[in-house]
């Protein structure tokens, strides 16, 4: 069977689901952040495969921008986590409940 668009999209969906599972299941802020990266990568894979099978390069330009924005987002997010750790001595979401009703 020839590998086509739907094969790549299936991999992308499954990888996105894995990332979502990590965000829901894990309680460590850093691992949650890594799962977010997995979800972003899944979206990138879908965009690149759509771009390839529709013969348009615009999808790949979008992926280029997504990678740039993800790098900026990771640097700011990790700086926030470090600042939080300095104040509270924890990177565990169950210890961060001051906004809970």
């Amino acid at each position: 069977m020839q590998v086509g668009l739907e094969h790549y999209l299936t991999v992308s969906f499954l990888l996105f689901a894995l990332g979502l599972l990590g965000v829901i299941m894990r309680r460590n802020l850093l691992v949650i952040y890594m799962s977010l990266e997995l979800m972003l990568n899944a979206a990138n894979l879908a965009l690149v495969s759509f771009s390839r099978f529709n013969d348009k390069l615009d999808g790949q330009v979008l992926v280029f921008f997504i990678i740039t924005v993800a790098a900026a987002e990771v640097s700011v997010g990790l700086a926030l986590i470090v600042a939080l750790y300095r104040k509270r001595q924890t990177a565990h979401v169950e210890d961060l409940t001051s906004m809970k009703l």
Binding site: L30, S49, E73, L78, H92
Partner: protein
């Protein structure tokens, strides 16, 4: 690039490689999220590197050579190193010993499983790749650069401003007396 094209021009080699890289991507992705042997964030980061490298392999199979290189340089080179630095800064030995809540596992698996079933059914019924011609597109540096510096020049400049803002923000956030 010519060598890779010749390498991929064989009959069923790309298909076999697709299955290899897809299995590697999903396996390492699963080990990032739930590793049965170690809950340490360092192992998660290492498996994230493997996921990203095998995903760069998938990009090469999709003839997106430039993006495969950018993926490895930016993600495996910069983002993961940043993660490892932060893991080194924070002392997370106590964190690794905490249990994952049973409710979190069950709720997560049920909701994510439902989402996977829905999206795969939608993919099957819409079947977007059914009557597309054989792909011709090559995502080399030349073609991508031409598009980036003509049609997408404004977003390109805006992204550079965004990177500057992120840099200023990170420096401000890392100051010792953060108010």
């Amino acid at each position: 690039m010519e060598a890779i094209n010749n390498l991929l021009g064989g009959t069923a080699v790309p298909d076999v490689l697709f299955y290899v890289f897809a299995a590697l991507t999903l396996l390492c992705g699963a080990l990032v999220v739930a590793n049965p042997f170690s809950r340490s964030p360092v192992t998660s980061a290492m498996f994230l590197v493997l996921t990203i490298i095998s995903m760069a392999g998938l990009f090469v199979l999709l003839h997106a050579f430039f993006l495969a290189a950018v993926q490895i340089i930016v993600y495996a080179g910069a983002v993961i190193v940043l993660f490892l630095f932060v893991i080194m800064l924070l002392d997370l030995k106590e964190e690794a010993r905490r249990k994952i809540k049973f409710f979190g596992i069950v709720g997560g698996l049920v909701s994510v499983g439902a989402i996977v079933v829905i999206s795969l059914k939608a993919l099957k019924s819409s079947n977007p790749g059914a009557n597309l011609p054989a792909p011709q597109l090559e995502g080399g540096t030349n073609a991508l650069g031409q598009l980036l510096f003509t049609q997408y020049i404004l977003p390109f400049e805006v992204v550079s401003v965004l990177l500057l803002v992120a840099m200023v923000g990170v420096i401000l956030l890392s100051k010792k007396d953060l108010k």
